[in-house]
Symmetry: C4
Subunit: 183 residues, 4 copies
Amino acid sequence: MFDMAASRKIKLLGLDVDGVLTDNAIFVGAVADARVEFKRFDIQDGLGIAMLRGSGIEVALISGRHSEATSYRAAELKIADVLQVAPDGKVPAIQALLDRKGLTWEQLAFVGDDLADLPVFERAGLPIAVANARDHIKGLAKHVTIASGGHGAVREVIERLLQSRGEYEAAVDRYLGRTERSE
Amino acid sequence: MFDMAASRKIKLLGLDVDGVLTDNAIFVGAVADARVEFKRFDIQDGLGIAMLRGSGIEVALISGRHSEATSYRAAELKIADVLQVAPDGKVPAIQALLDRKGLTWEQLAFVGDDLADLPVFERAGLPIAVANARDHIKGLAKHVTIASGGHGAVREVIERLLQSRGEYEAAVDRYLGRTERSE
Amino acid sequence: MFDMAASRKIKLLGLDVDGVLTDNAIFVGAVADARVEFKRFDIQDGLGIAMLRGSGIEVALISGRHSEATSYRAAELKIADVLQVAPDGKVPAIQALLDRKGLTWEQLAFVGDDLADLPVFERAGLPIAVANARDHIKGLAKHVTIASGGHGAVREVIERLLQSRGEYEAAVDRYLGRTERSE
Amino acid sequence: MFDMAASRKIKLLGLDVDGVLTDNAIFVGAVADARVEFKRFDIQDGLGIAMLRGSGIEVALISGRHSEATSYRAAELKIADVLQVAPDGKVPAIQALLDRKGLTWEQLAFVGDDLADLPVFERAGLPIAVANARDHIKGLAKHVTIASGGHGAVREVIERLLQSRGEYEAAVDRYLGRTERSE
């Protein structure tokens, strides 16, 4: 379980991409003399993100690297806010996003794995490291997931966040189109 | 071993795709500015499905997501019934399939891994969760596989199902083109 | 170590492809509306096959399934004999290959993982199952590898085969272009 | 930790590619009747290589095999020296590179996994084997990584190398654009 007070304040779940929504792998090759890159995403993570719809928590992707794979996956998951910036551009990009949404850093839960996430961890209300995060990052996290990135880490974060807010069962019911509870 | 009485009633093996025939991964990238998606299937699962031919048990794929990868794999495995619907459309799609085949829910074994399979688990005669299924789903399953999805879980289900019906050796002989036994 | 007497008779190393040179995975997707299939091969296996050159042991691939991926990998590894047949066509295909080369089944080491390899195991002088082989197949093997298919199983077979023949160090020297030993 | 005296001499980090920057896998298939090959690279390794910029240690890739995937990944990581040669051509290629840079073998740390790296290990000041290296190679290495190739082995080497030189914290600060220290 996450800290209940901190969890209840969250309005935005920020996700690093490589190492968080993926297992840190990129698959690189040439097709017809052009560079092609694939990333490996997890379907159970995707269902978790779908469970957040209607919960009052939005999702944003914040990557320190540009990739068409990330854009395609975000579109499929109906994630509108996709920030693909330079590694040292995460904080200003998130600041602008929070400003636009009228939110504060305290209302941000952020999941990361590596040094480029460190300045975000220092500011976010709920900094969470995945199991495969570098030690440097784990030391700054309030929570470390059991699952690894690309293998259900994001699903685990979402389930724990909903549980810590007492909203997990309602989210399951809502996802299944059953007895909705008002929020 | 599965429950023998329940196993003997089975006429249709329904398989979720992501997380069951795959390890929940999708590989996403751009080729010539178009989205491309790969899925990872297991050849030993495929041989298991081939072993069912002539057994009196049909196979159907029921996915809560559309993917060309699923269609191609189904064609290769000679699976005619491929239902790719919205996550909340699995029950009506299976109902229509059962009706068309003159079967009941009790005659359906179904293998799943996530929340979208929950309403199917509540109806199927033999609901089976893969090792990598969410806990919520495992709690509703009559059996949980040792192998994970995409790493032989479907093969394990098929072998256990045939063993529980006392038909495993006959299926091996039939696959190898040896002394066929009448069924 | 393999049986020394049996090892010294080997003139041909036959390799199943899926589950032996790969981890049983196929990656399936659509590119420009056409089916595309990738297989995952291991570079250390490839170096092992290169070590056999000049050893007097030839290599052949015998697959129960056709795939361009197999043809490309065979070409890269300079394997001339690539038999891609129906699952029940392995024995006659190997028989024809042995006849053409003037060899007997006793001179064949064969590495397999699944039921389609069973009739070959019953005939080959040195039937070897990979760690990820089905139990049915392991029961018929003279040896079971520690490594899994696609993760060094073939390299392990080649190193053990050379060691059992007392030719490992010579093969290393030959690969590195050092003091060749006559064979 | 690496040997401090040996570490302080290093001016060039040479990396084998397959099995070191990857998990030894190549993904092979046909797209529009042409051979396509993908390799799987690790993003945390990439950040490690970025950490070396400004450290006075250059990075070179030395592969015994040609692949467009390697060229693309090198370009992305801003690695100018990419030697893709025959397996037995690594030593002369590195010799020429060292000559051009005015360096000696003692100033080279080299990370490898297989027989083709053996002649390099015999000459390099700091030969390092990855966890998945063949035993033959591990025996010649001064260090063996805990992480496997393609799963953070290169990141581990870089962090240990910087720590052994007492430069790790400075490299983190430099990467994050914080209080730079002169070098």
